[in-house]
């Protein structure tokens, strides 16, 4: 055992701490994930679970952005739904003008980023809960805009999203690869989770380098950070811009996957869902944002699969039972959120790290 010390996960050099993938094992794990990603839609070609996971992936992209803002920089925002809407309507515009996929995705991110930067200055003036509620105002102003800008958004009636998702010869709506044709849900699963990987790597790269350290300094004590030379103006505004870029890209994907958007969709509940994702996943971790998105989008559906079998529950809206399965599903969902946070307030990522630490020191863990 002692001879293997060199290969264990003890960090020996400072550079190791800064690496994207810290160890050989991590690289192997990544390879396994890539294989799983490639095979999953083929092995489980089930439209329900593929669409659930595609939604989860899209939410994960937006949540990674929010986590950069809230988890790393400490600026909690309820305005995320607005930027998702901005991205979706960019996709609407792109669909009408036949802009290619990568171009509109980039455009959505840029538009979102510029608008996000414009919110930055508010964050310089306000803190904590007050900032939260101001960004909530943004959601309502956005809803008003979306409802009244009829030529673009279709007003309250909504509009179809026809933006394309082709990269070169690959059309992800109807993927033809190696002589096989894949369904829309399969194609989208690959597209979205590949984008999740790109988004996560970009974010991770930002978080582990100079800007990331500056952002965390702003989070922990912004006044102290500015005293030692971190520009608050620059990093708070940049954090808002980057987070909004992620949100707008996710919004564009969300609208395009759904193929139809209406203004009331970009409401406060959507913002709250994103906050829930990053808190449940674990603030200040990229990985947590992804776990949180899968949890929030997936757990309700899991509950649905099993709650039918409980004894006192009516399986249909008219059946005999103390409570219908539909009301019960919602109650269980709420209870899961509460229980989870009571037992692990730091989120899924913390749970994962704790498990990892446990096994790392095995059999001497305590």
């Amino acid at each position: 055992m002692a001879l293997r010390l060199r290969n264990t996960r003890l960090t020996l050099r400072y550079e190791d701490d800064l690496r994207l993938f810290r160890s050989y094992h991590m690289r192997v794990a990544m390879a396994a994930l890539v294989i799983g990603f490639a095979l999953f839609p083929i092995v489980f070609n089930n439209d329900f679970w593929l669409s659930v996971l595609t939604f989860a992936g899209i939410y994960a992209i937006g949540a990674i952005g929010l986590n950069l803002l809230s988890g790393y920089t400490g600026q909690v925002s309820l305005g995320h739904a607005f930027f998702l809407g901005v991205g979706a309507y960019t996709a609407v515009w792109a669909g009408r003008n036949e802009v290619p996929f990568l171009a509109w995705l980039l455009l959505a991110a840029v538009v979102g980023g510029l608008l996000g930067a414009a919110i930055g200055p508010f964050a310089l003036r306000l803190r904590g809960v007050y900032l939260v509620i101001i960004t909530l105002g943004l959601v309502f102003v956005g809803l008003h805009l979306f409802r009244n800008w009829t030529s673009l958004t279709g007003g309250g009636a909504g509009t179809a999203v026809l933006a394309g998702v082709s990269i070169g010869p690959l059309d992800f709506n109807r993927l033809e690869l190696l002589g096989s044709t894949f369904t829309r849900n399969q194609g989208w699963f690959w597209l979205v989770w590949a984008l999740v990987a790109v988004a996560a790597l970009l974010a991770k790269n930002m978080a582990r380098t100079r800007p990331g350290r500056a952002m965390q300094a702003v989070r922990d004590r912004d006044v102290a950070a500015s005293v030692i030379g971190v520009s608050l103006v620059r990093y708070k505004v940049a954090a808002f811009a980057v987070s909004s870029m992620y949100a707008a890209a996710a919004g564009g994907l969300l609208g395009t996957f759904r193929q139809f958007v209406a203004p009331q969709q970009w409401d406060l509940l959507l913002s709250i869902e994103f906050i829930a994702i990053i808190i449940l996943g674990g603030l200040g971790t990229i990985f947590g944002a992804i776990l949180g998105a899968v949890f929030i989008r997936g757990v309700g559906n899991l509950v649905e699969q099993f709650s039918h079998h409980l004894p006192f529950v009516a399986g249909t809206a008219a059946g005999d039972g103390v409570i219908t399965v539909f009301a019960l599903n919602q109650i269980i969902y709420g209870l899961l959120i509460i229980l989870f946070l009571v037992f692990e307030p730091l989120g899924l990522a913390a749970l994962w790290l704790r498990l990892k630490a446990y096994f790392k020191a095995w059999p001497f863990s305590y």
Partner: protein, 431 residues
């Protein structure tokens, strides 16, 4: 052994394996049978429909995606109960075509568009068609998927957009028709073309559809819409909108709203002493209003524009039959206009399925063919009959009914004029 359990890849593989088991377990659904692989029942004779997704040779399954929890369940629950009572009646007669039991697969979308897509994907391979998708936004959300999967759904929404859709089976006269007939009735009774006619609408597609009908009626019948007051769902106070209507001396106000808002709008109007003739579209009404504090004001000032007959009016054959079935299969059901809609909707679904069995094909393509093959959807007076056919031949019913408020009647509504179609409504074209 340590090496395997301790290494990260090992744990990840184990985790992935667990995840795969979970996904496999879920993928099979809780019914435990995969309908796509079901074998025909042994006594199947040639000419009977082949087993397809949603049909195992003996039982036909239809999907229902509707709000069964949350605030919108107040509409989703009675509507689904209406579906169920009709299908139970069909099953008591031996089932579709006297042979195949029909079963509903219910899914709760909480009236959220994204959730509708997820639930649609969850049950679509277990059903031959969707007997109900409630509301305009959820229907819009699944429409691209219906087209892609070639599945038929019946929307519980009176939007005019559905008329020409290959994959939809709408019933009832659209909101536009309700407004036109309401305007016609008003002008024939209390009002004249010189009356000050106004509207108060919820600012969304539902309100826009109502306003479109009223504007058409204005052109056809020769009156002017003086004022349109708008509000959004969730507004807490309506004094501003009501004083706008009163300042313009509105004598008749057409209201497009949902019950939790309409009750406060009428309540505020009553206390302000403002009493125009209110004409509310069918979704403004709840039976409970007839028993509340507002009842005297509403009896005096409100007409509801809806379809079909008064609850319990045995002179209408469809209603007499419905009451009989309701007393048998859902004796606790309170009188409710959404129940009637759901019941009528299930009749239309049954008509499509019976034809599909006749043609010997319950596949998705078979159901579309069967639907296009019908000449007319008939409701025996519960709703206007719907001349049917391929999408371009469909012609929504132009009949509406006007109800006054009367607390002594079962649903709180008393028929003033039943199932009439104005010339203006007949002139309205759907494209």
């Amino acid at each position: 052994m340590h090496q395997l359990t301790r290494s990260l890849p090992g744990r990840l593989l184990a985790a992935m394996f667990a995840l795969a088991l979970l996904a496999a377990a879920c993928g099979n659904g809780d019914d435990g049978d995969d309908t796509t692989q079901a074998t025909p029942s042994p006594d199947a004779t040639p000419g009977e429909p082949e087993p397809v997704p949603g049909f195992d040779g003996t039982t036909i399954r239809v999907g229902v995606v509707t709000p069964l929890s949350g605030p919108a369940a107040i509409i989703g629950l009675p509507l689904t109960a209406g579906n169920r009572v009709w299908f139970e009646h069909v099953n008591a007669q031996g089932g579709i075509a006297g042979r195949y039991r029909i079963e509903m697969v219910e899914a709760d979308n909480q009236y959220i568009a994204d959730e509708t897509i997820t639930q649609y994907n969850r049950i679509k391979s277990d059903v031959v068609m969707f007997a109900q998708i409630l509301g305009t936004p959820p229907t819009q959300a699944v429409l691209p998927l219906l087209r892609q999967d070639n599945i038929v759904a019946s929307p519980a929404s009176l939007d005019a957009d559905w008329v020409r859709e290959q994959n939809l089976l709408p019933i009832g006269g659209p909101y536009q028709i309700q407004m036109i007939n309401g305007a016609d009735y008003y002008l024939r009774t209390e009002g004249s073309t010189d009356s000050v006619i106004c509207a108060m609408i919820q600012d969304d597609p539902y309100g826009a559809a109502g306003l479109e009908g009223l504007e058409f009626a204005a052109g056809e019948l020769g009156f002017e819409i003086t004022t349109v007051a708008r509000y959004t769902a969730g507004d807490q106070d309506f004094t501003g909108q009501l004083s706008q209507l009163r300042d313009n001396n509105c004598e008749a106000v057409f209201l497009v709203a949902i019950p939790s808002d309409s009750v406060r709008i009428w309540g505020a109007a009553a206390t302000l002493g403002y009493a125009p003739r209110w004409l509310g579209q069918s979704p403004t009404w709840l039976t409970a209003f007839a028993g509340g504090d507002l009842a005297p004001y509403l009896e005096e000032n409100l007409w509801i524009i809806a379809e079909g007959a008064e609850w319990g009016d045995e002179s209408v054959p469809g209603m007499a039959e419905m009451i009989e079935h309701q007393e048998q299969y859902a004796p606790d059901q309170e009188p409710d206009i959404y129940f009637v809609f759901g019941y009528a909707q299930a009749r239309a679904v049954t008509a499509v399925l019976e034809r599909a069995v006749e043609l010997g094909d319950l596949s998705r393509e078979g159901i579309i063919a069967a639907m296009n093959d019908l000449d007319r959807l008939e409701f025996e007076g519960l709703s206007g009959d719907y001349p049917w056919g391929p999408p371009e031949e469909r012609d929504p019913p132009r009949e509406s009914s006007i109800f006054g408020v009367n607390a002594d009647r079962p649903a709180g509504l008393e028929g003033l004029e039943i199932n009439f179609a104005s010339d203006a409504a007949r002139a309205f074209e759907f494209d």
